[in-house]
C-alpha cells in the first residue's frame, strides 16, 4: 500500500518558538532523512511536543523555516501537510467506530467506497484489529486504541508519521510488544517516523537516530550507539543511562588518544583531546568497568572500597567510593560483587581505554 520513495525528507532550519517570554524551542536545526526512524528524546517540558506540533503544522514557529523534500512548508496549514500523527492520548473520534476512524482520512481525500473498503480492511489486518471493526473507541483497551490511532495515521500513506509518546499510557509488557510492532510497521511502510518519548531505553531500542532535547535546545543527534557511547555533554551522558564521572587533571593529546591523571594515576583515553585540555571529566558506563585485585601500570585503574550492593538478578550493582571520595557504580557478576564486599578493603576498578570518554569539566 505504501509506495516506496514517498517517504518525506524534512529539514528544520533554525526553528524557535516563544510562548510570551518563555522560550519553548531555541534555534533548532535538524535534518530528518527519508524513511528514517528518528526519536526525539528529552525530559518532560523540554519542547518535544512543541517541535512535533510545528512539524505537523498545528503550531507556527516564531522563527526559522521548515522544508519537506526541499519545499518550504513553514506556512503550509496542517491539513495540507499530510503528516500522519498519533497524539498523546490517541485523540480518536469517540463517535465513530474503529472502521470509520480509520476510513476518515480516505473519505476526506474522496477515495471511492471500494478503495476505502479494501484499504481499511488491509490496515485493520495489519495492526491486528480484526473483529473489532464495529466497536467504538470507548469499548477498546488502551493497546487497541493505540492500534486504531496508528492505523488511522498510516492508512493514507503519509510521507511522515509523527508519534507523541504513544506508549506512555501502556503497561510495560504491552509496551514491549507495541515497540516490536512499531519497528515492523516502519519497515513495512518505509515511511519516515518521528517518535517522541522521554524513555531513553525505548529511544535506544527503536530508532535509527536519536535527537536529545533539554530546555528547548537540541543537544545532540546521532545513532543510538553514538549518543550512548560518545555523548556530547554531561546531560546527554546522564540522561541516556547511569554513568560514572571521575575528575581528570592535565589532559593532553597522546598516541592514538589522550592521557591525564585520575586520582594521581595516569589514565589513557582513545578519544581525541583537542577540544578538551587541562581539567576534564572522565565518564565511564557502569557495565564497562570491572573489578580486579590489581591493576598493572599501563592499565586504566583506580582504587576503591565497596560500600553497598543491589542484587538485580542477572548481575549486581555495586556502589564504591574511591580514595579521593568519588562515588562509582559498577555492574558486575553476582559472585564478584559478593567477594568485593566481603573483603572490605580496597579493590581496583579497571576499564579499557576505548570505553572512557572525556567531557568538559563541570560542563553541561
Amino acid at each position: 500500500m505504501q509506495q516506496p520513495g514517498r517517504a518525506a525528507e524534512i529539514k528544520a532550519n533554525g526553528i524557535g518558538k516563544s510562548f510570551g517570554s518563555f522560550r519553548a524551542l531555541d534555534n533548532l536545526s535538524l535534518d530528518i532523512g527519508r524513511g528514517e526512524f528518528l526519536t526525539l528524546l528529552g525530559p518532560s517540558g523540554s519542547g518535544k511536543t512543541t517541535f512535533l506540533m510545528i512539524l505537523a503544522g498545528f503550531v507556527q514557529p516564531s522563527e526559522g523555516k521548515l522544508f519537506s523534500d526541499g519545499v518550504d512548508i513553514t506556512n503550509r496549514p496542517a491539513e495540507q501537510r499530510a503528516a500522519g500523527m498519533v497524539f498523546q492520548g490517541y485523540a480518536l473520534f469517540p463517535h465513530m467506530s474503529v472502521e470509520q476512524n480509520i476510513a476518515f482520512p480516505l473519505k476526506v481525500r474522496k477515495k471511492s467506497a471500494a478503495e476505502i473498503k479494501t484499504r481499511v480492511g488491509e490496515m485493520v489486518e495489519r495492526v491486528g484489529l480484526k473483529g473489532h471493526e464495529k466497536k467504538l473507541p470507548a469499548q477498546l483497551s488502551g493497546g487497541q486504541q493505540q492500534r486504531v490511532a496508528l492505523a488511522r495515521a498510516l492508512v493514507f500513506g503519509p510521507g511522515v508519521l509523527l508519534l507523541d509518546e504513544p506508549f506512555s499510557a501502556l503497561d510495560k509488557s504491552l509496551r514491549g510488544q507495541m515497540q516490536a510492532e512499531m519497528k515492523r510497521l516502519h519497515q513495512e511502510t518505509g515511511t519516515t517516523f518521528v517518535f517522541v518519548t522521554h524513555d531513553q531505553s525505548e529511544a535506544l531500542a527503536l530508532s535509527s537516530r536519536v535527537a536529545i532535547f533539554n530546555h528547548g535546545k537540541l543537544l545532540q543527534v546521532g545513532r543510538p550507539d553514538e549518543v550512548y557511547d560518545r555523548p556530547a555533554n554531561r546531560f546527554v551522558a546522564e540522561f541516556l543511562g547511569e554513568i560514572n564521572m571521575l575528575p581528570v587533571k592535565g589532559v593532553r593529546p597522546a598516541d592514538n588518544g589522550a592521557t591525564g591523571l585520575c586520582e594521581d594515576r595516569a589514565v589513557n583515553m582513545r578519544c581525541k583531546a583537542e577540544a578538551i585540555k587541562g581539567d576534564a571529566i572522565l565518564a565511564i558506563r557502569p557495565e564497562d568497568m570491572s573489578i580486579a585485585p590489581e591493576a598493572s601500570v599501563n592499565q586504566n585503574g583506580i582504587a576503591a572500597t565497596a560500600v553497598a550492593s543491589t542484587y538485580l538478578g542477572a548481575a549486581t550493582k555495586l556502589d564504591l567510593t574511591t580514595r579521593q571520595g568519588a562515588k562509582v557504580t559498577v555492574s558486575v557478576p553476582n559472585e564478584v560483587a559478593a567477594a568485593a564486599l566481603s573483603k572490605g578493603n580496597s579493590v581496583w576498578l579497571t576499564w579499557p581505554a576505548e570505553k572512557g570518554f572525556l567531557l568538559p569539566d563541570g560542563g553541561q
Binding site: 505537523a56 498545528f58 496542517a78 491539513e79 503528516a83 498523546q88 473520534f93 476518515f104 476526506v108 493514507f156
Partner: protein, 277 residues
C-alpha cells in the same frame, strides 16, 4: 456519580429544604389540580373525554407543539453559533458573546415582550424602516401571530439553550480536532463531521430544555400572540379565570405535566444532569 456515604448524606441534608419547598409549593397544590380534573363539575373522566373531543383544545395542543418545535430549532441553532464564539472565539469575541448571553437575564420577560411589540408592530421600527427604504408598501404582519410568538420566545430561550452546549464544547478534547485537521480535513468538514457530533449530548440537552420551557410559555405568547395564537398555558388561564371551567383547565394542566414529565425522563436517559450546566 458515586460518592462516599457521608458525601451523599451531606448532599441529602443540603437538598432537603429545596425538596420540601418543591413539595409544598408545587406538588401539593398540583394534587389539588389533579383532584379538580376528576371531580369538577361532576366526578368522573368527563373532562378527559371532553379534552379528547374538543377541537379548540386539540388545535391549541397542536399549535403549542408546532411552536415549541420551531422555537427549539431556532433557539438551539442560534445558541450553537453563539456558544461556538463564546467558548472558542478570541478573547474579545468571548467577552462580547458573554455579554449577549447574560444581559437578557437582567431584563424582565414582560419588558422584552413589549420591546418586540414595539419593534414588530405595523408602525414599529422594522416596518417603518422597510417602508422608508421602499422595500415594502404595506406593513408586514409581524406580530399578533405565530411569527411574533416564535421570535419572542426564541429570543427569551436562546440564553438557556447556551449552557448545555457550552458544557459539551468545553469538555471536548482539543486534540481530536487537531487530529482531524492533521488527517487532511478542512475546518468546515471538521466542524460538521467531528465537532458537531461530539457535542451531541449538549444539543440534546439544549433542545429538551428549550422544548419543555416552550410548552409552558405564558407571558410571551399572550402578549406577542395577541389572542390570535393561543398556546396551552394561556388556554388553561382562560379556562380557569375567564370561562370558569376549572375541570377542563385542570385536565389540560395534568396532561401537560404528564407530557413534560415523560420528556424529562427521556432527557435524563440520554444526558447526565451534570452535562446540562
Amino acid at each position: 456519580m458515586r460518592g462516599t456515604l457521608s458525601d451523599r448524606m451531606g448532599a441529602a441534608v443540603l437538598m432537603a429544604p429545596l425538596l420540601l419547598f418543591l413539595i409544598l409549593a408545587y406538588a401539593w397544590p398540583f394534587l389539588g389540580v389533579v383532584k379538580w380534573s376528576f371531580t369538577l363539575p361532576t366526578p368522573g373522566l368527563g373532562q378527559y373525554h371532553a379534552l379528547l373531543t374538543d377541537e379548540l383544545v386539540q388545535s391549541v395542543f397542536i399549535r403549542t407543539l408546532r411552536i415549541a418545535a420551531i422555537v427549539t430549532l431556532v433557539s438551539v441553532t442560534a445558541a450553537y453559533a453563539i456558544t461556538v464564539v463564546w467558548v472558542r472565539g478570541s478573547p474579545v469575541q468571548r467577552v462580547l458573546a458573554e455579554f449577549c448571553i447574560l444581559v437578557p437575564f437582567w431584563i424582565s420577560v414582560l419588558t422584552r415582550a413589549f420591546g418586540w411589540v414595539a419593534l414588530l408592530s405595523n408602525r414599529g421600527l422594522i416596518n417603518t424602516w422597510l417602508q422608508s427604504i421602499g422595500f415594502i408598501s404595506e406593513p408586514l404582519t409581524l406580530v399578533r401571530n405565530e411569527f411574533g410568538v416564535i421570535v419572542g420566545m426564541s429570543h427569551f430561550l436562546i440564553p438557556f439553550a447556551v449552557f448545555p452546549l457550552a458544557s459539551a464544547m468545553r469538555s471536548l478534547d482539543e486534540r481530536v480536532l487537531l487530529a482531524a485537521r492533521g488527517l487532511g480535513s478542512s475546518r468546515m468538514r471538521t466542524f460538521w463531521t467531528v465537532f458537531v457530533p461530539m457535542t451531541r449530548s449538549g444539543i440534546i440537552g439544549s433542545a429538551m430544555i428549550t422544548f419543555v420551557f416552550s410548552l409552558g410559555f405564558f407571558v410571551t405568547p399572550a402578549i406577542l400572540g395577541g389572542g390570535r395564537s393561543v398556546m396551552i398555558a394561556e388556554l388553561i388561564y382562560l379556562r380557569i379565570f375567564q370561562s370558569p371551567d376549572w375541570g377542563l383547565g385542570a385536565a389540560i394542566s395534568v396532561v401537560l405535566v404528564v407530557f413534560v414529565g415523560a420528556l424529562m425522563a427521556l432527557l435524563f436517559r440520554y444526558v447526565k444532569p451534570k452535562q446540562l450546566v
